[in-house]
Symmetry: C2
Subunit: 207 residues, 2 copies
DNA sequence: GCGTCGGGATGACGAATGTCATCCGCGCGA
DNA sequence: TCGCGCGGATGACATTCGTCATCCCGACGC
């Protein structure tokens, strides 16, 4: 069984975490980290240049988030499978990661010993999903927000006034208030800030 | 030069990052990770039980934040030096970490190769501070917020109404509005949500 | 053809919020 | 001793916000 080692790409905006994950995975004889990037929009080029088998993608990244990067990978480098890694919670990300073509979804507080195994499973063509997260994802369900409601919530996440949001979204102030009201009703928040928090915690604010 | 290896404690709430850092640091011959914890309130006991030389403390942790954990370490295990690790920015954390007795302060996007060196320096009794972060810290300066103003902002960070904040802080609603107004003036925010964001980005919301 | 849904907008109204002046008591430095 | 800052509070006021009804338009489904 002297197969070629599985070629890995690490994408995470924190260099320390990236390097540490590289050290962890390089300990495995059948894995080798061939590329590291700190931005989502560098993923596709690196995956192509280094003939990457499996890409580990963090969700929070500048340039392009991990889910969008997974979609771009599927489109441009179909031989590369992707495994999305994220912080705890955010069950809404799971469904969207799978829709984007990710083969696996791992939260950052799973034991380190399981990561290499997840990589191997993904490389073999299997799907890897934390079962606990899967049920949570089903419980939360898909986003109830409409596209504009999400836009307005994103614009509101900076904490600005209605006038600020209206300028950012090119909408009337009254319309902004209407969308905010609708978003608050759908999220159950009693304040726009609470609505932003709830939507963010459920992963409903990404593109 | 066959000294005893430096005995390390890792404290980070994300098990994957913890394990990865352990793998990274265990590659160094003169370092050995002897304990890992996922909560700040387990740091002191672990440092004592495992005769830890240097503790790597993440700032964001349940139970006790990394800065408070550094203070507790200095009080109860003075032989153990602490190196605080955190995500980018938050220059306000630096001053408070040093005040709490931390010997070093490293941001998570420093290259992985530098971490082991930082650990060695701290163990030798030197201070380790990212110079870029130091000037940023001086620029931001110390928090202009008074203690109650901070309390109110923390209570407001959930996005609740004034009544919620008043209940949480055992203050009158009018008083809450006064403190919010003062905090908004000092942070430059035009909304309470904006004030919360600005204060959080500057690291002014910790204990 | 008609009902429904989403995007966009207007106007009105009550409640919540932000601002300010003012008051009290306490501790602390000059 | 006096002033000043901070904690805490009250009351008034203008603005903003959240809610709702209502309207127009285009796209779908049936």
């Amino acid at each position: 069984m002297t197969d070629q080692p599985i070629r890995l790409l690490l994408a995470d905006d924190q260099a320390l975490v990236r390097g540490a994950l590289a050290a962890l995975l390089d300990l495995e004889a059948d894995l080798t980290v061939v590329a590291q990037v700190g931005r989502g929009d560098e993923v596709v080029a690196a995956a192509r240049d280094y003939r990457v088998d499996v890409a580990l993608l963090d969700v929070e990244m500048p340039g392009l988030d991990g889910i969008a990067a997974a979609a771009a990978l599927r489109a441009h480098v179909p031989t590369c499978r992707s495994l999305v890694v994220t912080t705890f919670g955010r069950p809404g990300y799971l469904r969207r990661a799978l829709d984007a073509g990710a083969s696996g979804f791992v939260v950052k507080d799973t034991p380190a010993e399981q990561l290499a195994d997840a990589v191997r499973r993904v490389h073999r063509g299997l799907r890897v999903v934390d079962p606990e997260l899967a049920v949570e994802s089903l419980a939360v369900g898909t986003s109830p927000l409409t596209e504009r409601e999400r836009d307005v919530l994103v614009a509101a996440s900076g904490g600005g006034t209605v006038a600020d949001i209206a300028r950012a979204t090119f909408l009337s102030e009254g319309t902004v208030r209407n969308y905010l009201s609708a978003a608050m009703a759908k999220t159950g928040g009693r304040t726009r800030a609470e609505a932003v928090r709830i939507a963010d915690e459920n992963g409903w604010l990404l593109a």
